[in-house]
Symmetry: C2
Subunit: 276 residues, 2 copies
């Protein structure tokens, strides 16, 4: 069986940068897991003494806090500062930009619409920067009961699907006089989605490697499934099942933004050894 890798996959710029920052902050604690990948978190713990707090409530006694790529809500940041905790900011620069856009648009009197998952930490951090009218939505239906101002600013969680983002934009453009659309889906995400689509069309079976809680991985998997019915999402090579590959000629592999290269390598090795 032939194995094909997507043209773009795996660690994005923001994740690479955050890991590098964490490696230089020995002994610090991250508020929430640094990335959606337990193996990588374990490596950082063992080699750099980076511990993981489950929430801000556990932070009172730490000395140094790493803000992960998703950022944290404004109030949480204030809380860390009030406790004189040293802050190591590994917020993805694309998320920082998103926070700034929300802050500015909200100040300028726009209703801010965030396309994303209300419960996702990135969305919570971004939302906290819009002071006035701000809503988080996942579909056009969510817009219907809202009373937005005539001027709307639309942003997206960095890891959403572009096609869904644009549907929201179209709906708003139809109903509002001015819609300021900030395409804040990050390029790495867009490229991963594009490559997944291209590859999924060419192969018989697709393996998506990534965290099952990871927003960008979920989007990649949804796209993969759309274009290749036999798509499987795994966190690591141990979840692979031989029967997925029976009578398949070409297997495509891609990965979410928080999947280290070494897990992808192990996945390829295991599939190669199946000899189906």
């Amino acid at each position: 069986m032939e194995i094909k890798l997507a043209q773009n996959y795996g660690f994005c710029f923001g994740v690479k940068r955050a890991i590098k920052i964490a490696e230089s902050a020995r002994g610090a604690s991250t508020i929430g897991p640094l990335i959606h990948n337990n193996e990588e978190i374990l490596r950082l713990k063992e080699n750099f003494d980076i511990t993981t707090l489950q929430s801000i409530d556990d932070a009172a006694s730490i000395k140094k806090a790493i803000i992960r790529t998703h950022g944290i809500p404004k109030d949480d940041l204030e809380y860390l500062k009030s406790k004189n905790i040293e802050i190591v900011d590994a917020t993805c620069p694309f998320v920082t930009k998103l926070q700034k856009i929300c802050e500015k648009m909200s100040k300028d009197g726009y209703s801010v619409v965030i396309f994303g998952d209300e419960n996702h930490p990135e969305v919570q951090s971004v939302k906290s920067y819009a002071e006035n009218s701000v809503v988080v939505i996942l579909s056009c239906e969510d817009l219907e009961s809202l009373n937005l101002s005539k001027k709307v600013a639309l942003v997206s969680q960095t890891t959403r699907k572009f096609e869904e983002f644009v549907k929201i934009a179209n709906h708003l453009i139809y109903t509002h006089k001015e819609v300021r659309v900030f395409n804040t889906i990050c390029n790495a995400t867009l490229e991963n989605q594009k490559s997944t689509k291209t590859l999924a069309k060419e192969v018989d079976v697709m393996i998506v490697v990534g965290g099952k809680n990871s927003s960008n991985t979920k989007q990649v998997y949804a796209i993969s499934k759309e274009f290749c019915e036999d798509s499987y999402l795994i966190e690591n090579e141990n979840e692979l099942k031989k029967e997925w590959f029976f009578e398949k000629k070409i297997c495509g592999i891609t990965a979410g933004a928080s999947t280290p290269d070494w897990i992808i390598k192990k996945t390829i090795e295991k599939i190669s050894n199946f000899k189906v």
Copy 2:
């Protein structure tokens, strides 16, 4: 044969307003025909001594100029002022707003994209208010060779089809970080388009009454044709042909924004008398 009228059709707010303004400006001249309807222009000439100049070049010796709904380019306005010609501004307020948006966006460093017909007087007037980077386009293909700034402001000629406007918006959102979309398609136009679509789906034959040079009429006709193959565009009842109605059960009628009610009335009468 049953005859059904579209829920919205005919004279829009801007045209009604312009005619009222012209009726109060006895002896004035319009720069270009006031509306795309010769009968109405004749009525204004006979009853209110309103003459029609073909272009600004003929304006040197007039005393009072009526600016029609489309507006005029900034330079032409300056020219009229420099000749001490009294100006009666019948520019549609929606077009004035469009001019202001272009001026502001251009000043704020946005590349201004106007979705419309480069040769249409409205577009020429609007375009003249964007001082720096401004382009006029009709399709996504037109965008490809352009070198726009990262920040783009998108506006539309007031009479274009919404579905096409949104295609341009989507293309820009994909390729640009910020797209400020101003839905400047006027409500009357949108309502006429919507009503045309609804009616065209219900009937066997559609009659669209309007100027063959009128942008909004052309859009209405295109929508009608899309949903009812047997659609015909006429300027007045004399163009109606009996054979269009043979074996038809329901005839739909709609009209462009510059079609006076009395022409629609005559059209209905003539169709009723066909007795097919």
